[in-house]
């Protein structure tokens, strides 16, 4: 049974805990053991903290990786942003001895040392590569009859030289996971486009970031999507909270539901939308909840 430490990050535990419970429940059913990673912090967010000070970004990310090294397990994240910071930091420190020495000087003062003994994994690539589509198909008890607009997000697949996940312009692995639970992954315009949140843009220029999110929502709606399925709580927030902000600022309502893949997987395993926290989204869409077997 593979065992990994579960790195929570910020947005999942502190805004979308449904994704946290969905990840725990679904991986348990796939015979993957998750252990807690006590005392982890913000990854820290690559677009902002790496934009401010690389040494701090690297040292904080290294500390999070080291906490998992000390437990002796590879680290699992369900967030593209956390994945971006932690994979990049882990690779940099494994490859660059000088950088590692500098970071270890900082870590020594708080009682840690980076040794480079573990891998950082993202739930989507982990499920596809290590668990496999066939095993996921076997775990499905209630195929999900939905037209899904898959949103890969950026940092799951890019920069590609650090990720080794194949084509960045036309990837398929996430779509295969969505199709494994019985859903249809629909094609939509600019499918690989960014949600608009990253790089500190959501903080710096909210309205422009929302325009980027709105284009995605419009394209998914035009293609007949029932919902988005994403791989990142920050994209999730931009697309979900973002729609409430778009309604307020631009006066346009879409009410397109947003699910993290772990939540979609949970539905296919027979969990209710409420058990997966899907009803806790900021966008309220009762028709959709009813369609996926919600309580009302």
């Amino acid at each position: 049974m593979p065992t990994l430490s579960f790195f929570l990050g910020c947005i999942m535990p502190n805004r979308y805990p449904g994704i946290e419970i969905a990840t725990k429940q679904t991986l348990a059913k796939l015979d993957v053991e998750l252990v807690e990673l006590p005392g982890a912090s913000c990854c820290p967010a690559p677009g902002v903290f790496r934009s401010f000070d690389k040494a701090t970004w690297l040292a904080m990310a290294a500390r999070n990786v080291v906490l998992s090294e000390e437990l002796g397990y590879d680290l699992l994240t369900v967030c593209n942003g956390c994945f971006g910071s932690l994979v990049d930091a882990n690779n940099l420190l494994k490859e660059d001895e000088k950088l590692r020495a500098e970071v270890n000087k900082v870590l020594k003062e708080i009682g840690h040392e980076f040794k480079g003994t573990i891998a950082v994994r993202h739930i989507i690539e982990f499920l596809h590569r290590d668990v496999g589509v066939d095993k996921i198909k076997e775990a499905v008890v209630k195929p999900v009859d939905l037209k899904v607009a898959v949103h890969y997000g950026c940092h799951l697949i890019k920069p590609s030289k650090e990720r080794h996940l194949g084509s960045v312009e036309n990837p398929r692995f996430f779509d295969e996971l969505v199709e494994a639970v019985g859903a249809e992954s629909i094609d939509y315009e600019d499918k690989l486009a960014c949600c608009g949140a990253g790089g500190g843009a959501r903080t710096a220029v909210l309205e422009t970031a929302l325009q980027m999110a709105e284009a995605k929502v419009q394209h998914a709606v035009a293609a007949g999507a029932d919902c988005f399925v994403d791989a990142c709580p920050f994209c999730h927030l931009e697309l979900d909270v973002g729609q409430t902000e778009i309604a307020k600022k631009f006066g346009r309502e879409y009410n397109l539901p947003v699910l993290h893949y772990s939540q979609l997987l949970g539905l296919s395993m027979g969990f209710t939308p409420e058990e997966m926290g899907i009803d806790m989204n900021y966008i309220k869409n009762d028709e959709f909840l009813k369609k996926i077997g919600g309580e009302q």
Binding site: N14, S41, S51, I110, A204, M212, G277
Partner: protein, 172 residues
């Protein structure tokens, strides 16, 4: 546009950018504009032009680049970096330029506020009452197993931030 005077250019700027491995490759840009043509941000805000910003940087127009408000528009989607025929690491260079801006005291107040959240809570997005309620309803513990639950871990993170002087760098 005013004439660019070579006497005003800072030829050390490209060296400083080159401290980021790969970022020095911006001098290899031959202006094909593929980066900007595919840029989702340029599609919405034409003033944001990563080709132009990096071109100005490689010429040594340090003050103009660091004070250009559009350097904060990049969402780091890496589309341009993947597509560049010259292997220019556009995003890595942009991130390095931002850190040089911050080092020179140029930082958005909203970004300073995010930095303060991490310094104070160890999380850029800390817990709130709504999330605590949602966690309980889902059968999760009210506080996640992070620095939120372990004060000694938060102290560790704050000590780290003190060592790298991130608190001084980003103070409001």
């Amino acid at each position: 546009m005013d004439t660019i005077k070579t006497a005003d250019l800072d030829h050390d700027f490209i060296k400083e950018i080159g401290e980021e491995p790969g970022a020095e490759r911006i001098v290899l840009c031959f202006n094909c504009t593929g980066c900007t043509a595919g840029c989702p941000m340029a599609n919405l805000e034409a003033q944001y032009n990563i080709r132009k910003i990096l071109r100005m940087a490689s010429l040594g127009m340090k003050d103009e680049v660091l004070n250009n408000p559009y350097i904060w528009y990049c969402t780091t989607c890496y589309k341009c970096q993947e597509r560049c025929p010259q292997g220019v690491q556009n995003v890595d260079a942009m991130l390095k330029i931002r850190t040089i801006a911050v080092k020179n005291g140029i930082m958005l107040p909203k970004h300073r506020a995010v930095a303060q959240l991490v310094i104070q809570h160890g999380h850029a997005v800390p817990i709130n009452d709504d999330a605590k309620e949602k966690r309980k309803k889902l059968g999760l513990e009210e506080l996640p197993y992070t620095v939120h639950r372990f004060p000694e871990s938060l102290e560790e993170v704050r000590k780290l931030i003190g060592i790298t002087k991130f608190d001084e760098l980003t103070k409001e």
